[in-house]
């Protein structure tokens, strides 16, 4: 089973849920994929031993000037304006605009455009300090715009034989879709506040478009108001778990310590959530 953990709003506790859930499934083989490649945090809580670091790449065009006749067909074909042809002189390529679609090399009548890899980040693979959880995470290079190709490459490491938990980036745009797609169930983590509710509704709309089943975890329960609860009740959305706004939990989080390790009574609650999810998924 593949479970994604998403939120819409940032900082609601996605990583807290993903990590503590992974640690609570001690009788299963668990793989955690941290797809928040802009700001990955799962590794902070798992102290992993990294066994492999791979370079993640996209493709950018490169021009063979022995073949190029400056016909100018490549530049208008590019929807991202990543190519400019200076007649008889140069084909300028703007890698930061290029999406790596390969159309320019397809349209070139002279076969003068080939593609070469450009590094956009790294993928790290390893095991949590206690050896129980396989962790894979991506780290986007500083200044790099496109997170989606790196997220796709992190997901290529997915091991379908295991219970896979995916830590999704915040928001509702393309990186979120890349991360949640082809998962069996999505856990939406929210906080019971107006910001939490507004962004939860946006995230739910995304999941409905993608036709993914989902349930809600309410983190920092006790703060804010009751509107998230009322909304979930009205929409028939299951509340899978509530994590209270608790000084100890906040303290462990701030120290980079998964709170199930220190408060073992929570292991059962997280593990119980998986049972509920299995029932929904069927």
């Amino acid at each position: 089973m593949i479970i994604s953990v998403a939120s819409g709003k940032g900082g609601t506790g996605k990583t807290t849920v993903a990590v503590n859930l992974a640690l609570s499934l001690s009788n299963l083989q668990v793989q955690l994929l941290d797809c928040d490649v802009e700001e990955p945090n799962s590794h902070i809580f798992l102290n992993p031993v990294i066994e492999e670091t791979k370079s993640a790449q996209t493709l950018v065009p490169t021009v063979n000037y022995e073949l190029c006749d400056y016909c100018g067909k490549c530049a208008p074909a590019c929807e991202y304006n990543a190519l400019v042809v200076v007649p008889q002189k140069e084909v300028m390529v703007f890698p930061e605009l290029c999406h790596g679609c390969g159309l320019c090399s397809l349209v070139c009548p002279q076969d003068a455009i080939s593609e070469e890899p450009r590094k956009i980040g790294v993928i790290k693979k390893g095991w949590s300090g206690d050896g129980k959880i396989e962790l894979v995470y991506g780290v986007l290079n500083i200044g790099e715009v496109m997170a989606t190709p790196l997220i796709d490459q992190v997901k290529e490491e997915l091991d379908p034989a295991k219970t896979v938990i995916i830590d999704v980036p915040p928001g509702t745009a393309c990186p979120v879709i890349a991360a949640v797609q082809n998962t069996d169930y999505c856990i939406l983590v929210t906080e019971p506040t107006p910001f939490g509710l507004y962004d939860l509704k946006l995230a739910i709309a995304v999941l409905r478009v993608l036709k993914l089943p989902f349930g809600v975890v309410i983190n920092k329960a006790g703060i804010g108001d009751r509107t998230v609860y009322e909304y979930c009740a009205k929409e028939g959305i299951p509340i899978l778990l509530e994590i209270p706004h608790d000084k100890r939990i906040a303290r462990y989080y701030s120290e980079g310590v998964p709170f199930v390790n220190e408060m073992p009574e929570w292991e059962e609650r997280f593990a119980g959530m998986i049972k509920k999810i299995e029932e929904y998924v069927g």
């Binding site: 902070i44 159309l103 200044g143 715009v145 915040p170 745009a173 107006p194 703060i223 804010g224 989080y253």
Partner: protein
Amino acid sequence: MRQLTVISGKGGTGKTSLVGSFAVLAENKVIADCDVDAPDLHLLLHPEILRKQEFKGLKVAVMDKTLCTECGTCEETCRFNAIVSTEGSGYAVNPARCEGCGACVFTCPQEALSLKERVSGYAYISKTNYGTLVHAQLNIAEEASGKLVTLVRENARQIAEKEGRNLILIDGAPGIGCPVIASLTGVDLALVVAEPTMSGLHDLERILDVTRHFGIASALCINKYDINEENSKRITEFCQQRGVEIVGNIPYDPVVTEAMVAGMPVVEFSNGVVSDAIKDIWGGIK
């Protein structure tokens, strides 16, 4: 004209609560919410929309099923996993993954595919009690949030010029990628809101790497600094090493959430320690 962007790297550190209060404190400004996929500033500022503008982002491939022979060339061509075949209904474009490149249009032997413009969201220009707010909402499951941020900023610039404002106050998105970079280019100051957690410290280093990469002056404030003073000290030391000024620390106080529930900027809602800290920060960067 000065432009100030509030960012954080990590989500949920308090950017929007802070910008909402700055909107009260700042004079002669335009406010811009550049978190276009999960915007929240409107929940504090209650805009009255004056103008709604269509945003056309990336195009989308559209398939004419009457011409499709299910040859599968499009699926092979597509680099974005946006064309999928399902049993029974054959090949189809998944608009949520399509980046509108047109490669499938080029390779389809039956000319069954074409590119179509799509409305990917809306930009708004609104009136609030605190001045003009420019904001936007990306449609559900859309791409191109960076381009929409650029549109919001262009709207803000035009309005600031027209109204004779000398400040654009920008609420940024979490992360370090496309929308964040679009909200940072060419601004005069990036104010980073940090939180004293191990995750916060990690994310702060990365966002400061981004502002340095683009040569943008940065200042920092620590929100909820007293929830882990040891980590706050680490952040302070780290900033000293990096030459980033800390313009203030905000204590933890449930009043911030109470103000949010009341739908008000915290400096208007309360006169307590949090409001004092925010006023000091504003005094230090304005």
